[in-house]
Symmetry: C2
């Protein structure tokens, strides 16, 4: 045995998970999910699976026939299309009309849900902050905003106000959340912090060196809790201002971690 | 960062390889190939892919559409069927009529070969022993014996004699090797060591606690080089006798390592 001829992190017994994406090189799920599986003492690995959009419908059903496949994660171009392969969808997925996780249940069926928004709720829970009874302002009604809005709506805030530069999109999301959470006070409004307890940014403003704030404001009340879904940079202009004003800040990376934790619960259920 | 939230051995950039098998839990390729990739500084991982025999023909072509799939290894039930998915086959694979490795060439085509026998040749090469001009006795003309016999035939031994309890099978293999290596002195004969330089056991006799020798003999000439393809146990009854008689011994595990090395050459070519 003149050299280390075996690694200790993959074997014939390892349960395999995959992230299906296009492109694939930038995804962070392989290193993060695999670490979470290990932390929980589970012999599993998540590997990147680069599928071209034209191949998706043919490849997916065959991937699902791999007997040791535990589940799949989907990146943006596939989140809506992947619904077709789910036998059962969770509440968030049904409302959003997209999934980002698919796993084989003990019943042999493929269960799906979307965890982007649940990750935000989980991040707040870990900070000891609940949404119930809170007044919440959500900026951004795109993919991330939809997921966050639907998940927060299920938490029964006092009210939820949505702003998007595309008012139609904000209106459509408010209606969707209203249908999913009957009786919830949800509407569209201007981006402001008056009477708001929790400010959520799910718009792309402030991403990757963009110096702008997602709302026109010079200061924030220190009682406000400010969250930004953006992961890069970690400290967005909005979060930097919030810190300066003494607000509690919740970072995009915390949402990502919360999401991974909830998804691994789902995968190992 | 309250805990280690990333592993360092898989990411979105990692090239994925798989071993397609049924059953799958017992395979050793994941830990061994992955170690060899790492040893060569290549960001790649080999994972187990459990495919049921009934699913094989439908699953395979779709697996090959994964853009970051570097190649596949096949276990016994699939070695012959996998030929259907190769665009080009190496010399050994064409003669044996089976493959155990498939990889995407720079030309975008799927190249295949079988390395079981090449692993034996490689193990000898690493010991500084060539087959050229040697008198070789091969015991066993099944799957392993065929692969070893064909690969050794290509090395131009002085002659190659084959023994199998099933004489028809030995005869068929001798004919196949003769066609693959025209002019080679290859025939079927009794299991004996008279005038033999290298004795190769590729029969299952001596495997997993079987106390028998693959030939009826009480002693071996010390000039003989004795190889056993069996991996478990490492020291088969044949190799134990060979050691007792002062022979040079080559172990099944060396063939496995030689094979992995040659296959990784093939995968990274």
């Amino acid at each position: 045995m003149e050299y280390q001829d075996e690694v200790d992190y993959v074997s014939g017994k390892t349960r395999v998970f995959g992230i299906v994406g296009h492109p694939i090189e930038q995804v962070r799920s392989p290193e993060m999910f695999t670490a979470e599986f290990r932390r929980r003492g589970h012999d599993a690995i998540l590997v990147p699976l680069h599928v071209l959009p034209d191949d998706f419908d043919a490849v997916l059903p065959q991937l699902l026939r791999l007997r040791n496949l535990g589940g799949l994660v989907f990146t943006i171009p596939f989140k809506a299309r992947a619904c077709a392969f789910a036998d059962a969808m969770g509440d968030s997925a049904r409302v959003v009309g997209a999934i980002n996780a698919l796993t084989k249940g003990a019943d042999g069926r493929w269960h799906a849900d979307i965890f982007d928004g649940l990750g935000c709720v989980e991040a707040f829970r870990r900070r000891g902050i609940g949404f119930r009874g809170k007044r919440v302002m959500l900026l951004g009604a795109g993919g991330a905003g939809s997921a966050v809005g639907v998940a927060v709506g299920f938490e029964r805030p006092a009210w939820l106000r949505i702003f998007d530069v595309d008012t139609e999109r904000a209106t459509a999301l408010a209606a969707k959340i209203g249908r999913a959470s009957p009786g919830l006070d949800v509407d569209v409004g201007p981006s402001a912090t008056d009477g708001v307890d929790i400010l959520l940014n799910a718009s792309p403003v402030g991403m990757l060196g963009d110096p702008r704030l997602p709302l026109s404001i010079a200061t924030l009340p220190r009682e406000l809790v400010v969250f930004d879904a953006i992961v890069k940079p970690e400290r967005t202009p909005l979060l930097a201002l919030a810190e300066k004003c003494g607000c509690t800040t919740v970072f995009g990376r915390e949402m990502m971690r919360g999401q991974i934790s909830r998804m691994v619960d789902f995968f190992l259920a």
